[in-house]
């Protein structure tokens, strides 16, 4: 036992010595593990927190960029309000480049609605502003409506181009009829309205069916209107308008001197069955039939009756004046078309005009298409190239004539027939404008107004140069209108110089003398701004970009955001898709 005890004691020393060495190593290992664990935990925590300030910083930068863009936009609009002329800009797409404003770096571009360089006389432009703060860019757009100054002597348009429809005696819009802007017209602007004018007094003469479509239409009555008719201006059918303090002069044209005393080319009635031209001069009844094509070149022509039927075509080459001593008829596929874009024609018609199952102002392919409709006119055609005047009685005009469109007929032109009964029949479309005595648009008939015919200043601009601050006509205006209406002059003789002289405008400029607004010198010599010259509205670019990407079912290449449809639907995921570019 003693020996065993010795062994145990001896071995016990050895064990203690060995255990001491092992414990020293374990403590180190444990310490390393603890340090590693603490490092991992700390690193994880720090990593989890490090994005938060960045997110807040992005939000801050985005907000700062937004307001910097707003400031730059205000600056650009102010420049337009102070008379910035687009024609003077060498590069409108870089109106402002990298300017420091409101803590951001901003750039401003001016384009037209399609993103191209605007025309010098553009009336509507898009101002695109982008501002960057801290790497975050905010882009916004504004639609700016520009109102170019109109020479004072051009404020009155005797042809009443500012009205899409002007009815002197009665106006009827039947069920399903349409009066709207022509969408293809370059004159259509965002928020623009079109005008319907009436020259009669009784509200019973105005009949607008509840299911007719009056798009963005304003109603204007004249001084003769009863209070009941004036109250129609505020009805839900219309988007405003005004009771004008004057009698709008709807006058007929006299025969121009160029169409008088023409050489007599034929004393017999003619029926033309083959393609040919006609010499300038006077004819009796002329009927073009059986798909024949007759070309009228620059000059004046006179006919008793002019009739185009059975796919016949009257081609207009150059500046042509046509005097119809009696009727003008285009029927059964007949067409009046132009040789080129520079050609134009004016018809002076003494009696009735009929357009049945035919077309005027468009290519023969449309007139010969039996299933033609308003949609057949795919692109814009200037309606002012084809004008139809009803002659006044002193020029041989009938006391009461008719203008009838029937059977899906199409007319691209301007009709000025203040004494005529005008009917736009079912399925018929008139692109342009019309003036008539009794105007009726039948079910399915449409009048699509071309806003380019409106000069922007005239009777309907109640805060324009024709009226004083109190809304009354300027001195001399009523005398001018009375003279015009009483027949002192006819439509074609209402000259700019006459109007300019009577209005005291000396031909141009002015227009602001009545209120002196522009003649005032700002007390602090700040460049004067005229808010009316540039009216800006925000445009929901970001929202539309997002929607267009959904509508096209493809990712957007829009202006503002990297719109990822997938990310839009799963916003908890990809934060990158949310960043403003």
């Amino acid at each position: 036992m003693k020996r065993n005890a010795d062994i145990i004691e001896s071995s016990g020393r050895a064990v203690r010595a060995g255990r001491t060495n092992d414990r020293r190593g374990v403590a180190m290992l444990l310490a390393l593990c603890a340090v590693a664990t603490a490092t991992i935990v700390t690193a994880s925590y720090v990593a989890s927190r490090e994005n938060t300030p960045s997110i807040a910083g992005n939000a801050l930068n985005a907000t700062s960029a937004k307001w910097a863009a707003e400031s730059a936009g205000d600056l650009a609009v102010a420049a337009l309000e102070t008379g910035l002329d687009l024609a003077d800009l060498s590069d409108p797409s870089a109106l402002l480049s990298s300017i420091q404003i409101a803590g951001g770096n901003a750039s401003v571009a001016i384009t037209d609605l399609d993103g191209n360089e605007p025309d010098p006389d553009a009336t509507q432009v898009v101002v695109t502003i982008s501002a960057t703060v801290g790497g975050v860019t905010s882009t916004s757009q504004r639609i700016v409506q520009l109102t170019p100054p109109v020479p004072f002597d051009e404020c009155i348009d005797p042809e009443l181009g500012e009205f899409g429809i002007f009815a002197a005696s009665s106006l009827t819009m039947e069920s399903g009829s349409i009066f709207a802007p022509w969408p293809a017209s370059p004159g259509v602007v965002v928020g623009g309205k079109i005008n319907m004018g009436v020259g009669f007094s009784s509200d019973a003469s105005l009949s607008i069916h509840s299911s007719s479509i009056l798009a963005v239409t304003r109603l204007f009555t004249d001084a003769s209107a009863t209070s009941a008719l004036k109250s129609q201006v505020g009805s839900a059918k219309f988007m405003g308008g005004a009771a004008l303090p004057i009698d709008v002069p709807a006058i007929r044209a006299g025969l121009p001197s160029t169409a008088q005393g023409l050489t007599v080319r034929s004393i017999l009635n003619m029926t033309i069955l083959s393609t040919r031209g006609l010499a300038v001069g006077s004819y009796q009844d002329v009927t073009v039939d059986n798909s024949a094509v007759v070309t009228l070149s620059t000059g004046a022509y006179a006919f008793s009756d002019l009739r185009l039927e059975d796919n016949a075509v009257l081609r207009i080459n150059g500046d042509v004046v046509v005097h119809c001593r009696d009727d003008l008829e285009v029927v059964r596929g007949g067409a009046i078309e132009f040789v080129d874009a520079a050609s134009k024609v004016s018809f002076f018609v003494a009696d009735n005009i009929e357009l049945t199952d035919a077309a005027m102002g468009v290519d023969r392919a449309i007139s010969r298409n039996a299933s033609r409709s308003g949609g057949s006119v795919g692109s814009y055609i200037d309606p002012s190239r084809l004008k139809i005047y009803s002659l006044n009685q002193s020029s041989g005009g009938s006391a009461s004539s008719t203008f009838t469109m029937a059977t899906n007929s199409i007319l691209v032109g301007v009709v000025i027939a203040p004494a005529s009964s005008i009917t736009v029949g079912p399925g018929c479309t008139l692109f342009g404008r019309l003036t008539g005595a009794q105007v009726a648009v039948k079910p399915g008939g449409a009048v699509l107004y071309d806003p380019k015919l409106d000069k922007g200043q005239g009777f309907t601009v109640v805060d324009g140069p024709l009226y004083t601050n109190t809304g009354q006509p300027v001195a001399g205006l009523e005398d001018v209108l009375e003279d015009i209406a009483s027949g002192v002059t006819d439509l074609l003789n209402v000259t700019a110089s006459l109007l300019g002289g009577l209005l005291g405008g000396a031909g141009s400029g002015g227009g602001d003398d009545d209120d002196g607004e522009l003649s005032e010198t700002p007390p602090d010599e700040v460049t004067p701004r005229t808010a009316d010259t540039a009216v800006a509205k925000s445009w929901p670019t970001l929202a539309r970009s997002l929607e267009q990407s959904v509508e096209s079912e493809s990712p957007s290449n829009g202006l503002l955001v990297n719109v990822d449809v997938g990310a839009v639907c799963d916003v908890g995921g990809d934060a990158e898709a949310l960043e403003i570019e």
């Binding site: 060995g18 935990v41 997110i55 308003g374 925000s538 929202a543 997002l546 955001v561 916003v571 949310l578």
Partner: protein, 212 residues
């Protein structure tokens, strides 16, 4: 030889007493428990932090997307408290001061907890005349949401999602009626993980205008 062998074995494999072994086990267990608890706690905190950050990201995304609609908006025309929805007059494309169908946007929360925007979109193959005829003017004071619902029934609306995981929404207006209000507030309750977070958006309609 035997003595030497036993002595060497005891030296190479020093044993622990039972007490020492138990103490070592307890210490190890306690340390393991402590580390485990700490890791669990850190994991829990990290998870909560992650959900909070996810909610923050989504709230920011919602702010960007809602701002795209509310900043240029002209007017909030109608508010449906039951459906947490509002009808916004986004822009005045077709006629100044009058609302047309295509200018309306319905912003609301659907049954799937998605904040969506819905708008009227007529078929691409329609002619311009058809578009003009269909894009009706909706008079002020009308049931704008009903007008959109009517178009929805005809299949003429499109919808996209602005935000998911929305359990509640509340609109607040600066005036008595939505159309009069030039300032609008939208409070959303966002679901993230098992937690809910509140997000509050305030919008000023700088181009505020009421339709005629």
């Amino acid at each position: 030889m035997n003595h030497f062998t036993r002595t060497s074995r005891f030296t190479a494999r020093p044993g622990l007493t039972l007490i020492e072994l138990l103490i070592a086990l307890v210490i190890t267990a306690l340390m393991g428990l402590a580390i485990g608890s700490m890791m669990t706690m850190v994991g829990s905190v990290s998870e909560r932090d992650r959900t909070e950050r996810a909610a923050l990201l989504r709230a920011h995304a919602g702010q960007v997307r809602l701002r795209a609609y509310m900043d240029p908006a002209l007017c909030v025309l109608q508010h449906d408290e039951d459906d947490h929805a509002a009808v916004v007059w986004l822009y005045d494309m077709n006629g100044a001061e009058a609302v047309n169908l295509t200018e309306l946007r319905l912003i609301g929360v659907n049954d799937d907890g998605e904040l969506t925007v819905e708008w009227v979109k007529f078929p691409e193959n329609w002619t311009e005349l058809q578009l003009i005829a269909a894009d009706l003017t909706v008079p002020a004071g009308s049931d704008f949401a009903g007008a959109i619902a009517l178009q929805r029934g005809l299949g003429y609306t499109r919808t996209t999602t602005l935000l998911t995981g929305v359990s509640d929404a509340a609109w607040t207006f600066s005036e008595k009626t939505p159309p009069e209000s030039s300032r609008v507030r939208l409070g959303l309750t966002l679901e993230s993980g098992d937690a809910s977070f509140g997000a509050l958006y305030a919008f000023g309609l700088k181009d505020h205008a009421q339709p005629e």
